[in-house]
Amino acid sequence: MVNVVPYPEARPFWEGVAQGELRLQRCQDCGRAVFYPRALCPYCHGDRLGWFVASGSGTVYSYTTVHRGFGEFAGQAPYSLAVIDLDEGPRMLSRIVGDVTVSIDARVQVEIARFGDHNSMALPYFRVLRA
């Protein structure tokens, strides 16, 4: 069962996920969007970071299809993981839901869902947008 205990500066992110939103931070000094949640901007090292709701759209930078899962994920293979360049700038790793077929440069959209065990917490997954 997937369960995440948010670290303090990540609580707004996980509260957003629980409400169906993908929230990112934005540096009030340099204006760049930041993920994962931090206390300092990793670009300009300013300490004024605010939150906003991201579009949830992105482009696949790379992916892998897992054929040998482990632990609680063993029965779920094959499944695809992707590193996604969010339209707002930051890159995040997630899992592709629906059809596992994915390619680099594919457009994807966030889909906040529970996967597997009904006790699992909601996570931001991504679905490939097919033309």
Partner: protein, 384 residues
């Protein structure tokens, strides 16, 4: 490097590797340390610096000093992954140059094959990985290297068959090493027919899972006349970190070797064409391709061609990973110390077999990669 007070590797040894249910993480390191010191003609009481890495203790160098019955006054438990031991060489050489120490002992041990629950490897992911990787079922480290490989293939059109040459050549070198875990020859087709684990990485693209330990003894030049071996001089070193988790790697096709390599080569005052033998961390076949490019031995996207036609195999023009590497010799979780041991032996001309020994080897480059292509550490070693 300044010529004020040089450092050299004066002793190297492995403990038993492969499957070693008769050894612990500590006894592996103790046995390797004793053998390396014996080879150099030094005693445990000569050691004034102890450097080791692992997560079998909160302070590995502290625990090991007690186990060995020594009280060194320079301790380093720096753990940056499999490249830690190349970093330790740099740290020891700098301390020798500064006049802080005379004799440094670097060790590693792991029982990950025989005792997976007490194996000396990193057990707990960091807090970011637990929040943003683990919930998705990311098998690490292989998924990280697979993500890099797919991006690399996409950008440059390199293929799995080209990448497989790395595993085929490693196995040929292992055939010449009686201590190698897997020695039977394999073909590109064998690699491509092995089970897919994480696309595009198949089983034979992956390093071994073995036990093993090793030790490297470094001495200041004042002590070289005391030692029984040919000292192998540390000519340059460099370290770099580009990211921790794979999603934060700036460019999946360029590793920190692009920083640590030039830094080490500039310190040593050497060029790419000067190297007789090269030992680079081969956690996966993709690691070797990316490392060769990032070090500058070939241009981006050209590593597939660079390793083709037996070029890195025994008898080839670019002897690489001459003990069989982590792919075929041994890989006890962190492999970096074995790169140093092999390079030292090549530069000492230890091997009688003319295929196993790189003829007249004078200069070696050793490069460790740690974590999820996260950390890089380069060491340049010379015979004279």
């Amino acid at each position: 490097m300044s010529t004020s007070r040089r450092a050299a590797i004066v002793g190297v040894a492995e403990s038993d590797t492969g499957a070693t249910p008769h050894l612990s993480v500590m006894s592996q390191q103790a046995k390797a340390a004793k053998a390396a010191l014996d080879e150099a003609g030094l005693r445990m009481s000569d050691v004034d610096a102890l450097l080791t890495a692992g997560s079998w203790a909160w302070g590995p160098s502290v625990s090991l000093a007690e186990y060995l019955g020594i009280r060194p006054d320079y301790l380093d438990s720096t753990n940056i992954g499999g490249s830690s031991f190349e970093a330790h060489v740099g740290h020891a050489a700098a301390a020798i140059e500064a006049g802080l120490i005379d004799v440094a002992l670097i060790t590693y041990g792991s029982t990950q094959r025989s005792d997976p629950f007490n194996n000396g490897l990193v057990e707990a992911a960091d807090v970011m990985s637990r929040q943003f990787e683990e919930p998705y079922g990311v098998p690490l480290p292989i998924a990280a290297y697979a993500l890099a490989a797919n991006r690399y293939f996409h950008q440059y059109g390199v293929t799995s068959a080209q990448m497989a040459e790395v595993a085929v050549s490693a196995r040929q070198w292992a055939g010449l090493n009686p201590n190698a875990y897997n020695r039977e020859p394999i073909t590109v087709d064998d690699v491509l027919a092995s089970p897919m684990i994480c696309e595009p990485l198949r089983k034979l693209d992956c390093c071994l899972v073995t036990d093993g330990g090793g030790a490297v003894v470094i001495a200041a030049e004042d002590r070289w006349t005391d030692v029984a071996t040919h000292p192998i001089t540390v000519l340059g070193h460099g370290e770099a970190i580009t990211h921790s988790s794979i999603a934060n790697m700036p460019d999946f096709t360029v590793t920190g070797a692009a920083q640590s390599g030039p830094k080490a080569m500039m310190m040593a005052g050497v060029q790419h064409a000067d190297f007789d033998v090269v030992e680079v961390y081969d956690s996966f076949t993709i690691t070797v391709l990316l490392t060769l490019e990032s070090l500058g031995f070939c241009k981006p996207g050209e590593a597939g061609d660079f390793v083709a036609r037996g070029r890195i195999a025994p008898g080839g023009e670019f002897p690489l990973n001459t003990n069989g590497g982590g792919l075929s010799y041994t890989h006890p979780g962190m492999y970096g110390i074995f790169l140093l041991i092999e390079a030292t032996r090549q530069l000492r001309h230890d091997f009688a077999d003319p295929l196993r020994q790189v003829a007249g080897a004078e200069l070696a480059l050793v490069h460790g990669t740690g974590g999820m292509l996260s950390s890089a550490s380069t060491v340049i070693l010379g015979r004279s």
